[in-house]
């Protein structure tokens, strides 16, 4: 088997090369496994790889292609999976001690759909513990590093998936996004990250964090790759009653049909407190959109600043309920302490030993805001403000097709550079409201912050109305072409 140099690394080109036998699935898997082996000790992007199964799957794909049998739209492409999406292969730890050795008895719906389409699971990626974090420093098994500068964070919580794609250790990866956990690491790692509309992609087999906020989405080398993976995953699932029954429109064959005119909304509230490199990226994006024929309109989102407060009531409230299942009884870590004589102590000690500090903090916060006497002041009020935030987006989308702004206020920060929990939460100021309102958003590479020793990617975000992914993809694709595509890491 000839070695594959992986000089084509976007998923669609790779898929086409495998199908036309310019390369093989086996050579592709071998090349990625070799890259993982050499780079993962530094990056810590992967929890584990599925080398034997990936090679066996690749061999089946190559045989099918050689025999002229029909193959799926993802045949032979290696995809990495965030470790909170359950797979029969290997473990699903959520990068937590409490699930360190958990092996799922079933595959998530997205895993079934991707493998049915021919994708090869290359491994599981590290994340902030239970997806709670914006830097991948809360991972119980060591921090993940940003491939552009290994002294910096990759963002979070899907930082392992973002770092793996950015370093080209896989053709694409899946992540989950509760308040920005796909888009912010995509921005910090210089790749494309999509949070689909709430309910668009099945969550059966996604370890639940915030049930009214969580969505699975792709982290990819290009908008075209993102659209293809979205199309393979989206759609109703009888295993997930929160999945939307709306039909999935074709986003792949229509991708290049960027509308001749469209309106880009620019909220004043998205231009405060950003680094100058991030503001410059948005300004450049505005020029690209003007060149594409877009009309730029001012929109008003005065509740932008209130998003973090609203989110840090709703998300911890939902998280503390969802994480109540980890009690040391049916699965996960059980304390070995002889002092755990009764059920209460067994629960409390197993959970204290198994959950890390950030997860415990959020469980405490969620329990507090739901506790007697506080429910109305915090939780009910946050849900009322959620309606205001949704209305604010509805009013903005009456004036524009997409809302443009930064994904993150800054480029990647140094490991250990943000230690205060509240400051870390502020990293998601531009992303949480997308989840609160249940709309869709995509982060796109938008140049670099050149102010430091290493060049660091910066991203822009486009948000669109619920179920407007077809339009979002077309506009994102037009921007990607106008901007000239993403720059790869040298080497």
């Amino acid at each position: 088997m000839s070695a594959h140099s992986l000089d084509t690394n976007d998923l669609v080109s790779l898929r086409d090369d495998i199908r036309s036998r310019k390369t093989s699935a086996c050579a592709t898997v071998g090349a990625y496994l070799a890259r993982i082996e050499s780079q993962n000790p530094t990056l810590n992007a992967f929890r584990e790889t599925f080398a034997d199964d990936a090679r066996a799957s690749a061999s089946r794909v190559d045989q099918a292609i050689a025999a002229g049998d029909p193959v799926g739209p993802l045949a032979g492409v290696p995809i990495a999976i965030k470790d909170n999406i359950v797979t029969r292969l290997g473990r699903t730890s959520c990068s937590s001690r409490i699930l360190e050795n958990y092996r799922s008895p079933f595959d998530a719906t997205v895993i079934e759909r991707l493998t049915t389409a021919g994708a090869i699971l290359i491994g599981k990626t590290n994340m902030d513990e239970f997806a709670m974090g914006s830097s991948c420093e809360t991972c119980a098994f060591g921090a993940v590093r940003n491939p552009w500068d290994t002294s910096r964070v990759p963002g979070g919580s899907s930082g392992g998936s973002a770092a793996a794609v950015a370093a080209n250790l896989c053709a694409a990866a899946l992540g989950s996004d509760t308040g920005g956990s796909i888009r912010q690491p995509a921005s910090l790692c210089g790749i494309v990250g999509l949070k689909p509309t709430f309910g668009r992609v099945s969550r059966y087999g996604l370890v639940a964090f915030g049930s009214s906020l969580d969505q699975i989405g792709p982290l990819t080398h290009s908008v075209r790759d993102s659209a293809l993976l979205y199309q393979c995953m989206a759609g109703d699932d009888h295993h997930d009653s929160t999945c939307a029954p709306h039909p999935v429109e074709d986003v792949v064959t229509t991708l290049d049909e960027t509308p001749r005119t469209f309106r880009v909304g620019l909220p004043l509230q998205y231009r405060k407190g950003n680094s100058s490199a991030v503001d410059a990226a948005v300004t450049r994006a505005v020029e690209h959109f003007r060149t594409m024929g877009a009309e730029i309109v001012d929109v008003d989102l005065p509740l932008t600043d209130v998003g973090i407060s609203t989110y840090y009531v709703i998300a911890p409230a939902e998280a503390c309920s969802n994480l109540a299942r980890f009690d040391g009884i049916r699965y996960g870590h059980r304390t070995a302490s002889p002092s755990a004589q009764d059920l209460f102590d067994l629960y409390a000690q197993s959970r204290a030993e198994g959950f890390g500090p950030e997860v415990q903090r959020r469980i405490m916060l969620g329990t507090y805001v739901l506790s007697a006497g506080y429910y109305d002041a915090y939780y009910r009020r946050a849900l009322q403000i959620r309606r205001l935030i949704k209305r604010e987006f509805d009013a903005a989308f009456a004036l524009c097709d997409v809302i443009l702004g930064p994904t993150s206020p800054t480029a990647a920060f140094s490991l250990g550079g943000v230690t205060d929990p509240l400051s870390m939460y502020m990293c998601d100021v531009y992303t949480v409201n997308t989840n609160i309102a249940g709309i869709c958003g995509i982060s796109l590479p938008a140049g670099f912050d050149e102010s430091g020793a290493a060049r660091l990617p910066v991203g822009i975000q486009l948000q669109a109305q619920a179920f407007a992914e077809p339009l979002l993809f077309k506009i994102a694709r037009g921007y990607e072409r106008a901007q000239g595509g993403r720059e790869q890491i040298a080497g």
Partner: protein, 104 residues
């Protein structure tokens, strides 16, 4: 514990930890208290927004109840489901004695 303006005391933190089933050691309580006070202090901005007459929005999708077809499906084998259990005996999960065990 009745309004959002009462500062969070160390006893409150201990009480919430008990509700949350987290055995947080005494020496970690003060730092956790400081962090929670800082976060709650920020969240306090929600109190300044007029929410009169607003229906709470628990969920972004306005979906109505969706009923599954009443058709039996194959369940996962018991052995598969018990494979991750920390302690089992036959087809059962082993837990500490329940009756008279809970102190709260």
């Amino acid at each position: 514990m009745s309004d959002s303006k009462t500062p969070l005391g160390i006893d409150d933190v201990r009480h919430v930890a008990k509700l949350a089933r987290l055995a947080i050691s005494e020496d970690r309580l003060p730092q956790l208290q400081r962090e929670l006070i800082a976060i709650l202090g920020h969240i306090e901005q929600l109190q300044s927004i007029d929410t009169t007459g607003l229906e709470p929005m628990a969920h972004p999708l306005q979906l109505t109840n969706r009923l599954a077809d009443d058709v039996p499906e194959a369940a996962m084998p018991v052995a598969d489901l018990l494979r991750n259990a920390p302690a089992t005996q036959g087809d059962f999960l082993v837990v500490p004695k329940v009756l008279g065990g809970e102190s709260s």
